[in-house]
């Protein structure tokens, strides 16, 4: 259409795009069973993306009309999440098949780059879309390529080609776990006894406080205290469960949920009972379709089986955004919005989901609760090493012989982890350094390999344990490459809301590509990011950068 014609054409319709009747029909048919709830926007986008392989703008327009939202409100959300592909009128839909190759740290160490190169030059690359994606939570099987929804472990170009040929695009379906949980582990017995009045809320909270259990998503807020704060708020109260572990190197939540989702659910029920909440949402990252299905099955099983009242339990699907693991960004996402972290105050315990007081827990935190209450806090407390107390799940990956999730005493050092659990370094690799808490927890040299790994023990080194994602690297690797990978990851995953993080991560990543790092400039960026970012992503993003300048100066400077 010529410019003149385009201009003239718009006088013959109301302002803005014209709604296409065919697109309206598609949306009406697809969402016939749904109510146009704003908070379900992301679910609706998934339905459209699943059905049509992309989000045609005309469909989005029809969706906007159906939901009584402005076009741009749909656009904002759809364009925020990486798992949605918006296609403009007349634009081309992506190829029917996507392979997502993880290029985060553990996979990078295991040759993700070579895999991507091989795939991009392979024969099938034309009908295939190859996407670099951040951590998909299978770092123990690096490198990982996800074909459709099917994770290909220790992927090779041949393995990917085979999967394409055989159209292996679905995820594994996990088997039902209710019977095992109820019969073998006395599942739901403790919750039932709570309902029966055998335990008081006070007793339960005291037990949790006594155990010293802290939030295991990364921030480490004491669980018992959180419940007390929630109980002080005026209801209705919500519970939101964060199953969006996206910190590179973290895969513990996936593993425990693959094994036993009911333990989480019982923890959730006990929490709901304790804080008198009737509505719970489980937010599951889109990279974990098997877990999402298993959880849905578990909830359905429980609903059928239970002879007691249950709170409402909804399961929501993320859409490819690390930032939604940030507690308030997750709430925004559950409300059907862009995953923008909120500013505090108010804290989400006061004003959280839909403006109501909200208890948010990481999956593992809830997972521990039935066990702790059943067995008492004593055993948990008595565990621990190097002067620390409790048990932790460490996601161990990188250059070790046997990566995996290990339940180990809190305070264990990385050397002990490598030797006892990881069965030592890979052959031919010499321990050089490690990341104690994923991409954001900083980088430490082998010389600090005996520091106890726990909450509060790493601050003095400019690091933190976070979700206990320990990535080990060797003298064949460069700390600066790992730091650059981390900074690129932050730039990719920054929500873009605040200046320091949006601009700082991009600029830092550019500067970190230089052979000799401009230290002063980087330090200035780091200061602004740390001091002025809205959320933990931007505040912690300089950690790996600073650690390299501090512990590995030879890699980036003159000396």
């Amino acid at each position: 259409m010529t410019e003149k014609k385009r201009k003239r054409n718009k006088y013959w319709h109301p302002k803005g795009r014209a709604l296409l009747p065919a697109a309206v029909e598609d949306i009406d048919a697809l969402l016939a069973a749904d109510a146009p709830r704003r908070d379900l926007l992301i679910e609706f986008l998934h339905k459209i993306q699943d059905q049509y392989g992309c989000l045609h703008v005309d469909h989005l327009h029809a969706l906007a009309a159906w939901m009584k939202l402005a076009p741009v409100e749909i656009m904002e959300v759809a364009s925020f999440y990486h798992h949605f592909d918006i296609v403009q009128s007349g634009g081309f839909a992506p190829p029917p098949l996507t392979v997502r190759v993880c290029d985060s740290i553990s996979c990078m160490l295991s040759g993700a780059e070579a895999l991507i190169n091989a795939l991009e030059t392979s024969e099938s690359s034309e009908k295939l879309r190859i996407q670099r994606v951040p951590c998909v939570g299978r770092c123990d099987q690096a490198p990982v390529a996800v074909l459709g929804q099917n994770p290909l472990l220790q992927a090779t170009p041949e393995r990917v080609a085979l999967a394409i040929n055989e159209n292996q695009i679905e995820c594994e379906i996990l088997s039902s776990t209710l019977a095992g949980y109820v019969n073998d582990s006395q599942g739901y017995a403790y919750y039932r006894s709570c309902l029966d009045g055998e335990h008081s809320v006070e007793e339960v909270i005291e037990c949790l406080e006594d155990s010293g259990l802290r939030g295991l998503g990364g921030a480490g807020f004491p669980v018992g205290r959180k419940w007390r704060i929630l109980r002080e708020q005026i209801g209705p109260r919500w519970i939101a469960v964060n199953i969006d572990e996206g910190e590179p190197g973290t895969f513990k939540d996936r593993e425990i949920l693959e094994q036993q989702p009911h333990s989480l659910l019982e923890g959730l029920l006990i929490a709901a009972w304790a804080i008198e909440s009737e509505r719970c949402v489980l937010y599951v990252r889109d990279e974990y379709p098997a877990i999402r299905q298993a959880l849905q099955t578990a909830v359905d099983e429980l609903t059928t089986w239970a002879d007691f009242d249950l709170p409402e339990i909804q399961i929501r699907r993320g859409a490819g955004a690390y930032i939604c693991g940030e507690e308030s960004a997750m709430l925004e996402s559950i409300e059907g919005k862009r995953g923008f972290p909120r500013q505090r105050p108010p804290f989400i315990a006061e004003r959280g989901l839909f403006g109501q007081p909200t208890l948010e827990h990481n999956a593992e935190s809830l997972y521990w609760i039935p066990q702790l209450l059943q067995q008492g806090a004593g055993g948990f407390k008595a565990s621990g090493m190097n002067g620390r107390s409790g048990l932790r799940r460490y996601s161990l990956s990188g250059r070790v012989k046997r990566p995996g999730v290990y339940l180990a005493p809190a305070g264990i050092s990385v050397r002990e982890l490598i030797d006892t659990y990881g069965k030592g370094m890979l052959d031919g690799h010499v321990f050089y350094g490690y990341l104690p808490g994923g991409a954001s927890g900083g980088i430490l040299p082998a010389s600090l390999g005996d520091v106890p790994l726990d909450f509060d023990t790493l601050q003095e080194y400019g690091c933190f344990i976070g979700s206990a994602a320990v990535i080990v690297f060797s003298k064949q690797d460069r700390a600066r490459d790992i730091a650059l990978n981390a900074m690129r990851f932050f730039a990719h995953e920054s929500c873009g809301q605040c200046t320091p993080c949006r601009v700082g991560t991009v600029q830092a990543a550019q500067l970190m590509e230089e052979n000799q790092w401009p230290m002063d400039e980087l330090e200035q960026l780091a200061c602004v990011m740390e001091d002025a970012s809205i959320c933990g992503l931007g505040q912690a993003a300089p950690n790996p950068l600073r650690c390299v300048m501090k512990y590995f100066p030879a890699e980036v400077g003159n000396d």
Partner: protein, 921 residues
Amino acid sequence: MTDIQFELNGQSVTAGAEESLLDVCKRFNIEVPHLCNHPSLRADGNCRACMVEIEGERALAPSCRRNPLPGMKVNTDSLRAKRAQQGVLKMLESTLSGNVYTLEDELRQWQKKGGQKKQEQKKQGRQKTDCEIVHKVKAGAGVVDSSHPAIDFHIDACILCTRCVRACREVQVNNVIGLSDRGGRTRIVFDFNDLLGDSRCVGCGECVQVCPTGALSNKNGVDMLCADKKIDSVCPYCGVGCLLTYHVKDNQIIKVQGRDGPANHNRLCVKGRYGFDYIHHPERLQRPMIRKQGVPKGLNEYFDPAEPLKMFREVSWEEALDHAADTLLSIREGDGLHALAGFGSAKGSNEEAYLFQKLVRVAFGNNNVDHCTRLCHASSVAALLEGVGSGAVSNQVEDVRHADVIIVIGSNTTGNHPVAATFIKQAQKAGSTLVVIDPRRKGLADQADCFLQFKPDSDVALLNAMLHTVIEEGLIDEEFIAGRTRDYDLIRQNVADFSAEEMASICGVPAEKIREVARLYASAGNAIIFWGMGVSQHIHGTDNVRCLISLCMLCGQIGRPGTGLHPLRGQNNVQGASDAGLIPMMYPDYQRVDGPGVREKFEAAWQALLDPAPGLTVVEIMHAIHAHSIRGLYIMGENPAMSDPNLNETRTALTQLKHLVVQDIFLTETCAFADVVLPATAWPEKNGTVTNTDRRVQMGRRAVDSPGEAKADSWIIQQIAQRMGVRGFDQSVPQVYEEMRSLMPSITGISWDRVEQNESVTYPCVDASDPGQGVVFVDTFPTDDGKARLVPARLSAADERPDADYPFVLMTGRMLEHWHTGSMTRRSRVLDEIEPVPVVDVHPQDLEQLGVMPGAEVVISSRRGTLRSHARAEPAMQRGEIFLPFCFVEAAANLLTNEALDPFGKIPEFKYCAVTLEPAE
């Protein structure tokens, strides 16, 4: 509000608990850079330029988002705070191209200030103001979206502060601008990443007004021009009464900005912000003119607004005024005291309206003075005067904040009162329930919680069904009815056979929805009703409003904030012009011409004998001209040859006049019938007060000189009066206002000086200490017995219903960009670029059935006339109904309209007549 004591940069200070730290800093002249923060917007805290250090907190805090707490220790200039503030500014700068698009680039200003301290230490030189610095825009200016006629978007100057997003979404509630993508790829988009000019943007320019860097800026680089002066005034368009500031350079208005007036809080709409340049149009009349000998009257080949000298010859003011006045005088003497009439204008000031009606009454010797109120809300005023004793609104628009339920009926508020609509939309977003009742699904309907798309002409049926529902379901406020109303029984009996179920098919709305709305309204804590011309412009317009009054009274929804009746007034000064007496049956302040003792009062004040009989209304005057009983007409700023119904008749009437004097700023279609044309001043060229829909008296000020020999309207009126030999026409504008005030009890407390000082004062206002009463009828109504009178209404059909010959219903009205007959807005570049051609709104399926593509020409005919227009496919229409705006001279809608009148308000039925719609060959 409790005061908080805390420490700011080592000083103990006191602040309100709700005050942001940034605002406290501003109050103490402590400069903290800030970019995403703006006084008219919700604090967002995304730019992170205003970070401060709070003792005991790990990270810094954005001062715009934090309130003080007792004992808090805040530091704005610690090393850390400064490092973050300057670091953020530097980061933002690094993302920009360096091109400058506005003199008021806030990022540059903060950076300059940051560097300033160092400079000051070096040399104590005079700081240059922005205007003195010549900005060199870097070559190869950045990517620009210039698709919109008024607004450019330079993405290379965007700092993603989201001020525009909040302005568009939360202030104007238009929701066109948003953020797309994330991280470093985050960017501002319109709709689905469309060009601004292709988006749903309505051009209000709020985004431009708040943009800190000129990324969104006014077209043609006007933001880089330095104004010679800035003049505070009022918008010349609709009755909302937005306060604004004219930026003037070389006697030209270069741009307009919203000001914090009580009715607009800095907001403007596309007309107010971009529709100012009509005053500089080359077709402005600059010299008085008299019709050339032998040139026939009418819209004939001699008529050309661009070349008036084909029809007229230029004369001196002396000659023009003498000729105008002498002929009027000779008609008065030759054809009698009732042979003259005058149309005043709701576009002028109060003082002009007052002078004009005084001229007619004193010099013409009769009460034949009217204005366009007759064509818009005459029926509303008739019903309100009859029912509650006052024709003005009971509550102001801003009251929507307090309303639990808001009903908007027969009003395309987003198009015709755009800034008022923003407050309604905001209230809905904040939780009020919005009910929209209209045959067209336009604007507000999209945001309504409940939308009734009823059939045109079925207002009485619908409203009576609601009355029936509230009575039947026991939802009425019996105490209110007993104490404050009379004749309730008449209503009860009248609506007995109007059940929602019976009326549903007449209205085209399911009975349950009618009942739902009735229940919502009746059971609301506070509920307010707004209406527009969709209610009033019917032959049963008065009945429609009677029903609204009854509904309001039965439910006791009046006399409190957030309740009441609000007919949205059309013209900028239609309230004021009516108040000032520009109506044939009333003197100023609605004192009846035939009321006891009233005439005597005005005869004493004006030192003249006055006609005891009420005069004729607009359409009656046209009929009287036809009948040759009126021979001379003086029109100030009205355009009946476009605005009156059944134009062929109206235009024929105008040719019958012996003498027509037209005073205007352009050669309007009405001038084609004039004997004398007097060049007048446009609104920004004069001083005077205007009264908005909320009863706020506001000050308009002269910003530029008028072109050529054009003169102020008040001067012209006074000159004619003097030449007609009457006294009392020699005062200055403030003196005229003060004379008016002495005769108008409702504005007693509002002196000229007070308006000059306060910019806006609400009446009724009894004395200088009275802040003005925003809510009226609190305890009583200004009727004889203090009670509201309830008047029943029966069903009556439109004068002309569609039939086999004329199957479509035609509704007329305005569109957002064009004002009334288009004389101003079609001469505004931006407005005419957005809507340049006549369009008729037709339902897409009707078009399909006719085999007409959108944009094709159609012929529309009624029993009275025919015209051609382009068809617009408009899903907001119902089948069988079409809408034609009356602003296009090429397709003058009023050629088709029916002049049948409402018997009480004498308002023509602009909203309903039968037409055919056919493809043009």
